[in-house]
Structures are given as structure tokens and as C-alpha cells.
Symmetry: D2
Subunit: 346 residues, 4 copies
């Protein structure tokens, strides 16, 4: 039984970790960390957990937590995990960080895009980028995992086979992404009020969103060179879900079957990546509550581009689900344990 501590358990991603781990046969939550709600019953913060979770919220004392837990999930704002981690802690407990602190290898890129100083750059090299389908072997047994971003996971898994196989020009990539509002977090801001978000759609962070360098770094590894892409996120009036629509210039005269074969080669054995059938477009409702990523593509013979689409649940495969998947890999458990429920519709 893996003993789990969660720091930031009262954010949306933290609560989703709780929901998933409660259904995980080999995990037990021993610490519900939440700076904002210390000593408050967890089920008073999240009424859905009434009579299910009886614990109170605790602080983020990593020393104490590292004694009690086998793994710590940090579902916290950028910078916090980097400020809490040290060699002593890492010698005693695995850390799966849902923030961006250890995702980007070049600390100057991190500091430029995030606008904060990195407090423990010495661990960046050691950290493994926890995109399970791509870095599975590297994750095994690691003690520090950088859980990928929500937009990033969707963008990379959608595009990876085409970039890796040289099907598209990586510098032509444009990623137009759309996210449900839980991605904006649970902070009390006017901009995220119901009446402000409902019945509207907008782009934000245009040309400046922080997931841009993360996508570029990982796709750069795939094609073996530095690349620059456009990434535009949008806010959609729904709770969950990310849809990525990406565009790339084809490097040759590919037919549907050619590209379908490439996707199948990469993903047919992947439990959580579903390559849809011809002409079926991914929809976020079809992955809601699950760890699936649905991907598909369409060749535009007129413009010699390919339109790639991917859909996932930002709180599951885009955050808590992938974190659990990483935990399973680290501890040698079946990779899909605790993640097997079908998507919920409607």
C-alpha cells in the first residue's frame, strides 16, 4: 500500500487526486495538505466528500510528511515545490510535482516565462518529465517527477508521432487550444465568476502562455532540434476538458493511411491514447472524468497541411490522472490502476 501525501489538496487538481486515489486499491491518502483550510474538515471544503473523507486539512510540513508518506503530490502554485524540496526530503520520499517547477530543463527559460526565481535548480536535471507514454522507462524508480501541464500533455501527445517521424515541419506548428474553466483554478477572481465566463469564449495569454516553451522543449527532443511554435489558449464555458486543434505543414505527399499507420504504431498499445476512426473528431465530453486522450487528424490536400486534434480531461490526464499514472510507474504497479473508469457522459 503506497502512502500518499497531497500538498494543495483543496484546489481542483488536488481534489481530483483525492477522488482518483480513493478508488485506487494500492494507495492510501495520509495527508490532506491545504494552507488555506488548515484544521477544517476536508468534506466541509468539498461537500461531495461528505462521509467519504473524514480527515482534516493539514499544513505543508514537508519534513513531517516525508516521514509519513511514500510519495508526495504537490498540486500547488508555481515556485512552491521548488522552495520546499531538498536532498533530505528526496532521500525519503518520491515527489510528483504538478506545478511547472521541474518541467523545463533550462532554468533561464523557466525564469523568463514564469517571472520567478527558481529556488532549487540543482534538482532540475534529475527530475524526469512525466509524460508517461513517451518517458515511461525513464520514470521507473525516479524520485522526482515533473508532471506535465494540461495543455502540454494534449498538445504533445497529439503531435508527437508526426514530429518524431518528420511528417510535418515543426516550425510551422500552430496549436490553438481550448480549455474548460477548472484550468483557471479555484481562486476567488472576478474574471472567473460564473457570469463572467458563462456564454462567452475568449483567447488569453496570446503569444505569452507559459506552456509554450514546455511544448517546444518536448517536441524539440522529438525532432532533434530547437523549434518555435505558436500556442494560443482559449477559455470555454464548461467545467472540464481541453481540446487542441493543431496545424502543421506536411513534408510530403501523405495519404490518410500513411499517417494513420504512424499514429497506430505509436499508440495502438497505449491504454490511454485512443486514435479515433477516420473523420471522427475528438470531443472533450468523450473523455470527461477519465484518463483518456482522444486524437485524430485530417489531411488538407488543398493547403498541404494536416489538422491534428486532441481531447483530454484537464483534471485527469492533464493533471491528477497522469500524476497517478506516474505514481503507478514509479512504484511498479499496473499503470492503469485506479484509472480504469470509463468517461462519464453526459
Amino acid at each position: 500500500m503506497v502512502k500518499v501525501g497531497i500538498i494543495g489538496s483543496t484546489g481542483y487538481a488536488g481534489q481530483e487526486l483525492v477522488r482518483l486515489l480513493l478508488g485506487h486499491k494500492e494507495a492510501e491518502i495520509v495527508w490532506y495538505g491545504s494552507r488555506s483550510y488548515i484544521d477544517k474538515k476536508y468534506s466541509e471544503v468539498f461537500g461531495n466528500m461528505f462521509e467519504i473523507v473524514d480527515d482534516k486539512c493539514l499544513d505543508d510540513n514537508m519534513e513531517e510528511l516525508s516521514e509519513k508518506a511514500d510519495v508526495i503530490f504537490t498540486a500547488t502554485p508555481q515556485g512552491l515545490c521548488a522552495s520546499l524540496v531538498n536532498e533530505d526530503i528526496l532521500s525519503k520520499v518520491k515527489i510528483i510535482d504538478l506545478s511547472a517547477d521541474f518541467r523545463i530543463k533550462d532554468v533561464s527559460v523557466y525564469e523568463k516565462w514564469y517571472g520567478i526565481e527558481h529556488k532549487s535548480p540543482e534538482f532540475i536535471k534529475e527530475a524526469v518529465y512525466g509524460l508517461c507514454e513517451i518517458n515511461r522507462e525513464d520514470i521507473k524508480g525516479k524520485r522526482l517527477v515533473a508532471n506535465p501541464g494540461c495543455y502540454t500533455t494534449c498538445s504533445i501527445l497529439s503531435l508527437y508521432p508526426l514530429v518524431k517521424e518528420g511528417v510535418i515541419d515543426p516550425d510551422s506548428i500552430i496549436v490553438d487550444a481550448k480549455s474548460g474553466t477548472s484550468g483557471a483554478g479555484r481562486g476567488a477572481k472576478v474574471a472567473n465568476l460564473f457570469c463572467e465566463v458563462n456564454e462567452s469564449i475568449k483567447a488569453y495569454g496570446v503569444t505569452t502562455h507559459r506552456h509554450t516553451p514546455e511544448i517546444e522543449e518536448q517536441l524539440g527532443y522529438a525532432c532533434g532540434k530547437e523549434i518555435m511554435i505558436n500556442f494560443t489558449p482559449h477559455l470555454v464555458p464548461m467545467n472540464r476538458g481541453i481540446l487542441v486543434t493543431a496545424y502543421g505543414n506536411l513534408n510530403g505527399d501523405y495519404k490518410y493511411e500513411d499517417i494513420k499507420k504512424i499514429y497506430d504504431d505509436y499508440y495502438s498499445k497505449e491504454r490511454f491514447v485512443r486514435v479515433l476512426e477516420k473523420d471522427v473528431c475528438p470531443e472533450t465530453r468523450n473523455v470527461e472524468g477519465s484518463n483518456y486522450v482522444d486524437v485524430n487528424f485530417k489531411i488538407d490536400e488543398r493547403t498541404k497541411r494536416v489538422v491534428v486534434m486532441g481531447a483530454l480531461d484537464n483534471l485527469v490526464k492533464g493533471a491528477a490522472g497522469q500524476a497517478v499514472q506516474n505514481m503507478n510507474i514509479i512504484f511498479g504497479l499496473p499503470e492503469s490502476m485506479g484509472l480504469e473508469q470509463p468517461p462519464m457522459f453526459p
Copy 2:
């Protein structure tokens, strides 16, 4: 392993049965019945089931189905189950009917409120009303279960202890209920289009909704006499959830603690009924995707009334979840098997 056939598997309740049974360790779906989609792959109708369900949709041949299955769920329009059932079939297979055909003991009441002739009234007496928390013992081993309506389950479980204990005057009961739109079914009607439902709320079926006599009959059993209530359903722009707000005149000078004790006496051992803490109002989001019913009450000392509130997920405890709970009871399985996932929020 219980072999399950579903007739009406491509409606919202039918699909929810599929979702729940896929996670049930002792059940196996052997028949995806759907008149509308015969020979079509189930996962083409419900994209969320892609790579999860590989079966094609079948017809509603009850004879063949009764040979293959141990239990048949009929998630079909009123009248169909009554027209399909017969002694031969019931001798071979259990039937859990999610329609109203066997809920009401007085066939003339059924025929009046539903406006159709009952095709097999000879089985009404045998059928047990499958409100698990109240009729658990009667359900065990039965071959024909009338699965309660969604509004009905929420209304009865919210009011039952007060009616049974004589706390309120049953003829004073007013039930004002609100439902998400999945309760309206998956038929292609203008009235249920996104733009017609979104950003609006309305009452419907005022004084004439068919769940009225069902509530009256069951609460009548609780107080030992025939009663008449007001029931008003409303359509709410959300996918899932029913909220009941009910009003009753208090028969005496009850304090909070008195009524709380009554609810606790009835429900503290019930896995799926949660009596909330003082002043906490049930919210449908807190039960979404789960088999829970959240109930609470508030005494109005000014008007000598009690306001009772209940919330459930109309597709789970209001339909498919309770049907699975009934299956578990019939077959002697742990009652919560396959129904243990926590509610999903947001």
C-alpha cells in the same frame, strides 16, 4: 458473474447502466439492446465508449435474451416492458424495469396518469417497488423489480422519515423539484435543443406529472392512508441532477435535534443516503456521478413548517445506479458493489 442484458442501452439511462456495469466486478454485459441502432457499434453511438465497448447494438428479442442473461434491465419508454414480459421469460430471467410499468399497484391509476393500456397487469402484484433503502428485504430474490422514478426516489427518501413518524401532515406536502436535462431523454425534440434549454428555467407538467401518484402511493404506505400532494417539476440548464425542495406542516413543536435524530435513525447506516450537517443545503454537484442522495431539512418556526431538501444524480440513484443496487440485492451481492466511486466535482 451475473450476465446482464440491457434493453434501451442507447438512452441516457441505458448508457449510464453500461458505464456502471463496466466497473462492476461481478457483472458482465452480454446484450446491448437498442431498436434505433441495431447492428451499429455501441461506441459509434457513444464515443466515450470507444475502445471500451466493442459490441454492436442488438434488438429487443426477450426470448433469446432470457436464455443468455441472468437479468434484463429495461430502460425503455413506458409500456414496452409490460408488452414484452410473460411467465416464460420471468421463469428464466430477472427483470429490473426502469420504466413506470410496474411501479403503481392500482392499474387504473397507471392507465389514467400515463394514458396507455397496461399490457400485463397480471404481474403488477408480484412486482416489488425497488426503492432499496425502504424495500430491501422484499427485493431479495424477486424476479420482477419496478425501479423507482428519478423525482420519486428523491422525493420519497427526503420525506419518508417525517411521514412515517407522523412529524408532518402528509396532505400538506408540496414537492417543488428541479431536474437536469438528461431526465428529458435523448429524443430529437426542438424543446430539448441546447439553445432552447440553456439560460432558462421553467416548470412543466404542473399538477399533471406522472411521478405524482407514485410519490403519493409510497408515502401513503408510510403513513397508512391515501394522501394527495402537489408535485411540480422544473427543467434546469444542466446535464445531471435532481433537487427536491419539499414543504410540510409540522404536527407539533419539533426542535432541530428531534428531527435530526429521526433522520439519523433511518439513514445513519445507509451507505447511499447522507444526512447533511446543520444548515448545509444539498447541492446536485455534490452527488454527480454517484449513487448518493443528500438530504437535509430546516424548521421554520415562524410558519410551523419544515423545508426538506434532497439531491441526487437522476441517472444514477435516480435510474441506473439504483437499478444496479437492486441487482446486487436480488443476487445477494454486496449492495454497494460497482457503486462506490465518489461523486465527481467539478
Copy 3:
């Protein structure tokens, strides 16, 4: 041309006043008051007003404002208007208060339900309750109008003819009301975030909501005695709209035509009250953006009750629209001026 000052112009009701007054031929906004956004351009707070409103937000200096304006709308939290008003100001300018400060004649009732001390009780008697269809004659020429609450307007207009004519027992009245989320205001609270409100419904303020005594007082005037009712508000995942479903015990054997005639007698000449045709239920979408109230009723011959329904837009007839209607009456303008746009659907 009536010169208008708005205090609290950056709340939802304040902004709706702006929207309506911009289309009013005889009104001109001279003061966009907003404590929170002083010196900020109004169109930066509300992007819909870009290139339409060029003004900056100002403070709430009532002295200065009373020199510049003919009428001041106070769309502010409870207590503010009472703390700002005085004889000097009232001698120079009309005040239409959208808060509750001058709605309730008995100051002790106000102080009990609102939990604050009233800062200018000397003006309560003078203030007229601005429910236009009922108090039209009293409003003319008045200098202080208490604009009714949103729930209150809908509840009273729906029930008034029946209470006034003795059709129902006023102490049997139960008002079950449902509101869109703009009624909760524009404050940054976790409870009003998109993901907290979306896909859920709940009751709140059960037996304690502040609109209760306001409804009781006005309906009490109608029947000539003090009454006590139940009022339960609910939060609905939509931007605008209030639906009231009210229940009352009939005092006699009324037929549909009897009650229809009563409603027609009261409302057939009212521009903004629409008595719907038989069996048509009010829907909030049908009044969105407009000053209409749609009402209808259904007799339940079984229980001898009548179910009364009313729908309005909480920001228009429930706040800003009725305030403009009051302004029109005070200044002798056509009552519907600036309020003539049809409801917007979808």
C-alpha cells in the same frame, strides 16, 4: 432631458442601468459612480461598452452629484444609501434606491433581517415602495423611491391579484424561487466561481432570506393583515432570470375562467405584465433582457391549491428596468420609455 447619476455603476445592476439608459431618449448619464474603480475608464471594466461609454468612474460624492443630476440611482450594498441620504440632498435630487434600505416600513424588521443599523430611519416613512404596477399613483413626483427586490417583484406581481381578491389563504403561501447567478453580485467569491455554480442547483437562505419580510409586508397590505409565508430561493446555473413557483390554498371552488378573469382585470392594461395563455408555463428565457413579467397559474382540483408561476429578468424588471420605470413615472415621462426592446432569445 433627465440628468442621471449612478452610484454603484460597476455592479451587474449598475451596468444594466447604463445599458438601458443609453437607449433612453430623455435620459443622460452624467455620473458613473464606482468606489472600486475610481478614475478607471468605464469601458475597461465592461468591455461591451467600449466606444459607447467614454467616461471614467467617479466616487460617490452625493453632494456634488446632487448638484449635477436630477436623479440618482443607488445600486449599492444594503446600508450605503441610508448612510448617504439627507434632507439637503433630497431637496435637490430624486433618489431611486435599488438596495433594501427604504423598502421595509418597520425599521426593527429591517434591522433584524439585515443585521445592520439603519442610518436614516427618518426617511423611511416618506419613501415610496416602487412596485410600479401597484403603487404607480404614489410614485408620481416622489423624491425617494425604494426600488423593490428582484425575488420580491416576481413574487408579489405573481400573487397580488389572488391575495387582494381573497382567492387564496395568504398564510398558506409558499414561494419557491429560482434565480440566475447575476443576482449573487459581482464580488469575487469562491462560491460564485464558474466551476462552483455550473452544473448544479441548490437552495440557500432557507427560512432566512431577506426578501421574505418584504414580500410579507406588501402582500399583507393587499389582504389587510399581517401574514407569514415561506420563501426559498435557489441558485441556478444561468446568467439572468428569476422564476417563482408559488403555492396557495384556494378559499373556494374556483374555475380556470374565474381566476383568469381576475388576472386579466389587474394586468390586461399593464404593458409589462403578460398573463400567459392557458397551460403555458412562464420561462425565464422569454423575458431575458426585457422589463416583462410573465405570469400564469394552474388550479389543482385534487389538492384545492393553485400553483402560481412568474418569470422576469432579475436585472431588468427585478432591478434596473423597474428603476427606470420608476424614473419615468416620477418625471412624467411615458412609463415604458427606454424599456421597449423585446426579450432576446436565444
Copy 4:
């Protein structure tokens, strides 16, 4: 007073025409055409129009209508207008066609993308493409106007200045568009049910959407050559609104001020096009219910691309509003007559 007939008045665009024309001082609706609801009261189909419109729905007898009306709006499926129009009718009445029948000059392109035979190709040449801001002079006095598509209007107005001025390579253009669900029409289809659309986003018509050649043709005129672009529409769970996010490769080293000046040169005098301030992203909520198009752009110096954004209300500037604007131009009325209401928020 312009006498107006509407064919297709019970679709969403048709009803929006009614809403706008009711507020138009120089227009009078004389014919509410609707094949589906002949002889039914218009206000029974659209409850918002109760006591506002007293007419019954009529058929689509163009001969009779051409005698009674000065202008006919055809808000009908593709192909209908082309099948009804003839020289006799056009000699008596103006026609503003909201379908695609007369938008595309090359009939073979129309027939290929729409998959239907054009029934009156002889009028294509005469028809003027009614994008008011660009073709204003050509529209004056015309008898046949092809009202542009919703996606098209938003895409073209957003990109036109950059294409016309050679700022971007037109063949690099990628338009990623998002639409509210009213764009899908009022037909009873499962895919448009509330529970199917709500809480989800998807792309559709990828590489094959019919607005593609319309955008290409008009932007081709702007740059003086044939171009090919990518256009991908998405369905968003909201009633109204289109957001376009478009990408283009910059032809040179443009600064913010350079491109801002170009947009201002084109649009600063346009009543209905608002070029937003630096870094403000268009949001559909800010144009809801109005005829505005909000546009803005962001230069990505890293990738040498410009991201262009545009937002409009698909039923107003994307359909009925622009149609009324065209009517105003044809009949020499002030162009903004009947279209002056500010956007409604929330």
C-alpha cells in the same frame, strides 16, 4: 416606412430579424413566413414575442409577398432562395438572402462545396456580396444582396486590412473559429440536444466547411489573387457568439504601431467595427445582442506571425443585424438604424 417580408422567420436568424426590426423606426414586418408553422401564431412559436407580435405564420408565396413587401429577407436553407427568385419578383422587391445561394461568384465552386445544383445561376453576377464595411457603395440601390455567412463576416473583417495591405502572406492564413450553438440552427437533431452540446467542445467540418471558399473568394479580391486557407469551425456550449483566432505569416518586420495604424485606417470610422486597445482580447460576451465586431491582433516576434482575433454575435452581425444594415444601405436609411442597442452583459 419599409415593408418587410421574412421567409424563414421561425429559425434563429429569422427570429432575430423580427427582434431587430421591431425596434427599427422605418421598418414594418408585413409577412412572417414559415413553412413549418403555417397558420400558427408567431408568439406560440416564440414565447418571448407574446403580446408583441400578434401575427400568424404564413407560407413562402414569393409572388404574393413581392406585391406586399418592399424587401424580402430569406433566412432559409441553402437552395431555397435560388429556387424562388425570378426576374418578375426582382423587378418588384429587393431580396436580401441570408443563405449562401448568391455569395459565391463561381457557380461550380458553389455546387461543389454545397453539393446542390444552383437553380438560378443567372442572378449570381448581379448579386452583391453584402459585407457592408467593404462593399457599402456597391450595395446601394441593389435589388439582390447575398448576406455573408457568420464565420465569414468575422473572418474577413478580422483579416481584411492585413491581406489588403500585404502585411501577411495570404496563403499562410489559418482560421480557427469557435461558434455558439444557435449557429447550428433550430432543427430537431440529437447532435444539438442540450446534453450533447453542453460541457463539451469539438471541431467539425474540418477542411470541408462551406464557409471556406467564401472566405477565400473575398480575401482573394483583397489581395488580387486566388488563395487557399485553412478554416476549422468548432462548436461551443453557449447560445450566441463567434470567435475567430487567425494566424498569418508576416511579410516584414512590423511593429505593433504599424499594424494598429492599418486597422485604424480601415475601421476607425466604422460604427460597428471596434479595434480594441493593446493586449485586450475580443470576447464574444462583449458583443452579445449587438451588431459590433471586436477585432484585435498580437504580433509574435519569435515566430514572425501575427495572431488576429475577431468576435461577433453570429445572429446579429453574423446574420440578421448585417441583413438589416444592408437594408438600411439599400433604402438610403442611416446605416445603424435599428442596430444601436449596446451589447447585453451578462
